[in-house]
Symmetry: C2
Amino acid sequence: MPNFKIELAYDGAGFVGWQRQAGGVSIQGVLEDALHELDQRDVAVAGAGRTDAGVHALGQVAAFPLARALSADALVRALNAHLPAAIRVLSADEVPPDFHPRFGARAKTYRYRIWNGDVLSPFERGYAWHVPGALDVEAMAAAAGSLCGAHDFASFQASGASTSTTGRVVYASQVSRHAVDAGPAAHGRIDGAALALPTPGPHPLVVYDVRGGGFLRHMVRIIVGTLVEIGRGRRPAAWMHDVLASRDRRMAGPTAPPGGLFLVSVDYETETSERGT
Amino acid sequence: MPNFKIELAYDGAGFVGWQRQAGGVSIQGVLEDALHELDQRDVAVAGAGRTDAGVHALGQVAAFPLARALSADALVRALNAHLPAAIRVLSADEVPPDFHPRFGARAKTYRYRIWNGDVLSPFERGYAWHVPGALDVEAMAAAAGSLCGAHDFASFQASGASTSTTGRVVYASQVSRHAVDAGPAAHGRIDGAALALPTPGPHPLVVYDVRGGGFLRHMVRIIVGTLVEIGRGRRPAAWMHDVLASRDRRMAGPTAPPGGLFLVSVDYETETSERGT
C-alpha cells in the first residue's frame, strides 16, 4: 500500500489542536475522517508536530498509507474537496513505507508573532499576541541568540510534561521588528501580503523565528513569554542565560498565548536519504 | 459641542456593511451604539465611504459630535473598550463643526487582493478572491493604467445604482504581484506581517491598488472583475478601454467578491484648510 507524505496549512482557531481527542475537533481527526471517506477504510495519520489548540500551521507535515490508487496531485485535490477551508493540503508526495513525519524530521521552524502596537489590528485577532507598550527588540534579539546550540531546555518545558530527555538543539533563534514595506505605491501602502494598519512610527509587528532539531511541549511559547519580560525591561537580556541554566520551569516567563504561534515548516533528509540509500 | 473625526479599521466579515439598516449588524450601527453608551444620548455617525457587506477597512474615517468632555486619546480608549475586537478605532482628532468625512474627502485609496495560487491559504479566507490558474499580471497592469484620469465610469457602476453623475477622477490604478520577502532568515521565511504559505514559484498574491477622488457603487469590484477577465486571457488589455467607452455595465466583467476589498485610507485637505482658513 503506497505511503503518502502531505504538507498542510491550517488555521488553528476552533480546533483542539493537532491530536485527536475526545470532546473536540482536532486537525488529525478531521484529516482521518476525510481519508476515511476517500479510502473507505480507517486510515491512521501521523503528524510531524503536535500543535496545541489555537496554534496554526503553514507547513505541517503528515503521513499515511492509502489503499486507493491516486496520483499525488489527485490526492491533494480530493483531500481539499473533503476538508474544511480552514485546513488545506498544499502538496503530496509518495514516500517509502518506513517514512515517519515525526521521527524522520531533521528540523522544524516556528514563528511567533507579537503585535506591539497600542491597538490590536482586527486582522490580527488570534494570529498575534497583543503586547502594547515599549519593547526593546535589541535586548530580545540578544537574549534569543543565547539559546542557539545544544542545551538542556528543561526550563522551557510545560510543567507536568513527561519528557525525560530535555536536551535539544536550536539552530537559529532570532527576534526582529518587521520593516515597513517601502514599495512603489507609498501612499496608503500596506504590506504586500499583509493587512497591516497604516500606523506612524515603527512597525508594530515583532516576530520570533526559531529553528531546531526538536521542541519540548510549550517550548517556543515559554521562550517568547521570557523574551517579552526582557523586552519590557523587567529583566536584562542576560537573564535568558540564567533561566536556561536553572533547568527550572518556574524561573522562566509565562507561556505566551497559542494564537501567535505558527509551525512554518518541517525539514527532512533529501529524498535520496529518505529512501534509505 | 466638539466634533470628532476618527480613523478606524474593521474586519467586514459578519457585518452587513458600513450603513445602518434593518435586519443586520452594521459598522455604523455598532459605532452609534457604542457612542450612545459613552455619551448617554443618540449620536449620529457619518462615514467617509459606505463599504458593502464583507468589505474591510484599514483606514475608514467617520465623524460625530460628542457632548461628553473627552480628550482625543481618551475617546480612542473609551470607544475601543465599548466596541467588538473586529472594529478598532486607530486615532481621533477634534475637527471643526462643518467637517464632513464624505463631502470633505479629497481622495480614497482602496486595495483589492487576489489569491492566484492553486490552493487558497486558510488565512486568506474572506480576505482575498481565490483565482487559480495563470494570470497575466502585465496585461492586467496595462489595462488598469488606462483607467487613470477623469472618465465617465458608468460601465463600472452597480446596475440599479441611482447616481446620475458617473464622472470620476482616478489618480492611480495599478496591479502588481507581491514580491516574496527575501529577508535574512531565508529558510522557512514568511513575509513579515504576512501569513503567506511557503510556495515555490511566483508569489500567489496579486493586488490592485486604486486611488481616486470618489468611487461609484461596486466600482472597484467591477474593475477587478474586468481585470481578471483580461488576466485570464479571455480579453486583451485594450478591452478595458472599450468597456470604459461603452458606458454600459453589461460590457464589463463580473463584480469581484467583497472579501478581497479593503478601504485603505481617506485623504483630506491639511488641517489648516479643514479649519477653513
